[in-house]
């Protein structure tokens, strides 16, 4: 048994024994008692994309004073509804709503790099704060405070993602190839702080950590903390002014948006044999589930269980097939930061703290309460579908389109099974290219939807594939309805 005070005295004398999390299993297996008594600190950490990150900034008062109500930093909006000259810049806020690859995470990185940031602020003007507009530039040095405060970092468990659908998906879990051709996974397995202290024995409120290359603290459990399902997480705080740009990197996950790659190191004091045992965790012990992101619902199907030994091997066996894997966190930079943390402790620059309060060991995050039920396809689709057979002529199809005031016609066989679709644009193409056979212009790979699919998912699919309508089919691919963009807009507009 050791105390944190004793470990700190050892640090002071330069006698603390510091071991990296991946070195601990061997030391522990060799002699558990000796491991617990001789090892003082196990360093854990991670360098990964942490979307739930951001920073509180204080700009100081202007003359005459302004009470900022809207604020943009390099054209990225920051929340300024906190007093007069404070703001919170969040990592995932984009410069524009969409199609921008610069966001709050990059503003944070630029600040840490010492770059100049353009500030644009608006206010309504009061007797005490008459100024209504500010346009200026600031650097990190100009700010009174720049405190990184992250609502949700360091997860106990991360997912592995694959995609069973037949189209490529760009998700926050990276680019997922169709038909389960790859797996992307986050997390660093045996190096993960919470894999080494899953019961929050030593990690708690007040634990000093290495955040973005500076000293920081665990301030509590993170939002959505769900220890009941093994999905706990932590909230962190640190001073942006002391951070190292190496460990604070803005990124843009293609098709998803911006996020912040952040390095976090957590030293675990080995106070007893039980803690030593837990830090002896190996990659093969750290398990996660492979989730099918091809199904865009809150509860996505689990395809299988996998451990980090398998994930880091580059290939995982799923349903008899070897699927290639992509990590999203960087092991290389994680090792770098663990080395740096060890050196800081050895140089007596970093002492450990005991927790002042425990992280809740029970609890489960709820899902969002929706007042209205999710709208589904069968609530908006037309059931009277005008269809045609594949042997129809272009002239017949044209007549159907005009007489029924529609823009597309599903092509079906004798038993109403979907064979293709033809749009008024296809007819134009046929005319322009002198094509007379309808089968030569119709689209055979039809974007379809199911009766009970959520409208949000169908409209996202239509947007992605740039189609204006989708036939609704049953299990046997028989056409039971059709949904158009106009149907969806009418439904949205009526509420």
């Amino acid at each position: 048994m050791k105390t944190i005070k004793e470990i700190n005295q050892k640090i002071k004398k330069g006698e603390a024994v510091i071991v990296r999390a991946d070195e601990m299993p061997e030391i522990y297996e060799d002699n558990p008692k000796k491991a617990a008594s001789e090892v003082d600190i196990v360093t854990t950490g991670t360098f990964g994309a942490m979307c739930s990150s951001g920073a509180f900034l204080n700009f100081g008062h202007a003359d005459p004073p302004i009470k900022i109500t809207k604020l943009w930093l390099n054209d990225v909006e920051a929340y300024s509804g906190i007093a007069a000259v404070d703001a919170y810049i969040g990592a995932t806020q984009l410069r524009k709503y969409r199609d921008s690859d610069y966001g709050g995470a990059h503003v944070i990185e630029d600040l840490v790099c010492g770059k100049e940031i353009e500030v644009r602020a608006e206010a309504y003007g009061t007797d005490c704060y008459p100024k209504k507009k500010v346009e200026t530039t600031v650097t990190l040095e100009d700010l009174n405070q720049a405190i990184m405060y992250n609502p949700r970092n360091i997860h106990q468990r991360y997912n592995a993602a694959t995609n069973s659908s037949d189209t490529l998906m760009r998700t926050y879990m990276g680019t997922l190839l169709p038909n389960k051709r790859n797996i992307c996974f986050a997390g660093v397995g045996e190096l993960n702080p919470l894999a080494n202290d899953p019961g929050y024995d030593v990690i708690g409120v007040g634990t000093r950590i290495f955040l973005g290359g500076a000293k920081g603290f665990i301030v509590g459990e993170g939002t959505q903390h769900s220890p009941d399902s093994g999905a706990g997480n932590l909230s962190t705080r640190g001073d942006l002014k002391d951070m190292d740009p190496k460990y604070v990197r803005g990124c843009n996950i293609p098709g998803y948006g911006t996020s912040l790659y952040l390095g976090i190191g957590v030293p675990i004091p080995i106070l007893n044999e039980e803690i030593a045992r837990k830090t002896a965790v190996k990659n093969e012990d750290v398990k996660t589930e492979i989730i099918d992101y091809g199904i865009s619902r809150l509860v996505r199907p689990v395809i299988g269980e996998v451990n980090y030994e398998q994930l880091f091997s580059g290939r995982v066996d799923v349903e008899g097939k070897k699927i290639r894997t992509s990590p999203l966190s960087s092991l290389k930079i994680t090792y770098q930061l663990l080395k740096e943390l060890k050196e800081l402790i050895e140089e007596r620059e970093f002492y450990l703290t005991g927790k002042v309060e425990s992280i809740p060991r029970k609890g489960q995050a709820k899902s969002m309460k929706l007042k209205k039920g999710t709208k589904t396809v069968n609530q908006v689709m037309s059931r009277e579908v005008i269809t045609a057979k594949a042997d129809a002529t272009i002239k017949e199809i044209s007549a159907l389109l005009i007489n029924n005031h529609i823009d597309q016609i599903p092509i079906v066989d004798e038993v109403n099974k979907l064979q293709g679709i033809i749009t008024s644009r296809d007819i134009t193409t046929a005319l322009a290219r002198n094509i007379t056979k309808m089968a030569d212009v119709m689209t055979r790979e039809v974007i379809t939807s199911d009766l009970n699919e959520a409208l949000d998912i169908v409209s996202r699919r239509m947007d992605k594939h740039k189609v204006d309508a989708t036939p609704v089919v049953d299990k046997n691919n028989k056409v039971v309805g059709i949904v158009t963009i106009a149907d969806i807009m009418r439904k949205e507009g009526s509420e």
Binding site: F47, G48, A49, D101, G174, T175, L177, N182, I183, C184, R249, C251, N252, I253, P254, S259, Y261, G314, I323, R324, T325, S326, P327, L328, S329, S330, L331, K332, I333, Y335
Partner: protein, 129 residues
């Protein structure tokens, strides 16, 4: 085995040059990538043996032949060595070294650009020839 970029100009784009070269040389050329438009085309091929002879025949047929060496460049400043690109590379040209750095086997790259589009740090760029 070496990879080559074969570029067809509008004059020759409609001739079956590849088939002719295969028939005449007897070398089974593997097409790794093809970009075919109505007025020009380019293909990336793997020539398993008799490279000199095959290239000579290609050149005689009026197409431009270039050996693919510097295809993709990893910007070491931007790359954070995460590995998001690894599983997307169709030829397995991107891999981890011993110390978990990302490395590209330039000879295996077929210039598809999958890694360029997937990189969260914009660290990958296709090199112009």
């Amino acid at each position: 085995m070496s990879k080559y970029l074969i570029e067809y100009s509008s004059d020759v784009v409609e001739s079956p040059i590849l088939s002719k070269v295969v028939v005449e040389t007897g070398v089974l050329i593997n097409v790794l990538r093809a970009d075919i438009e109505y007025d020009k085309a380019s293909i990336v091929v793997d020539i398993p043996h008799d490279e000199d002879r095959v290239i000579e025949r290609f050149k005689e047929s009026g197409v431009r032949v270039r050996k693919l060496e510097e295809n993709i460049k990893k910007d070491i400043e931007n790359c954070i060595d995460c590995g998001a690109c690894i599983s997307l590379c169709p030829t397995g040209a991107i891999y981890f070294t011993e110390d978990w750095s990302i490395e590209v086997d330039k000879g295996e790259c077929i210039r598809c650009g999958a890694c360029v589009l997937a990189c969260p740090m914009k660290a990958m760029t296709i090199q112009e020839h």
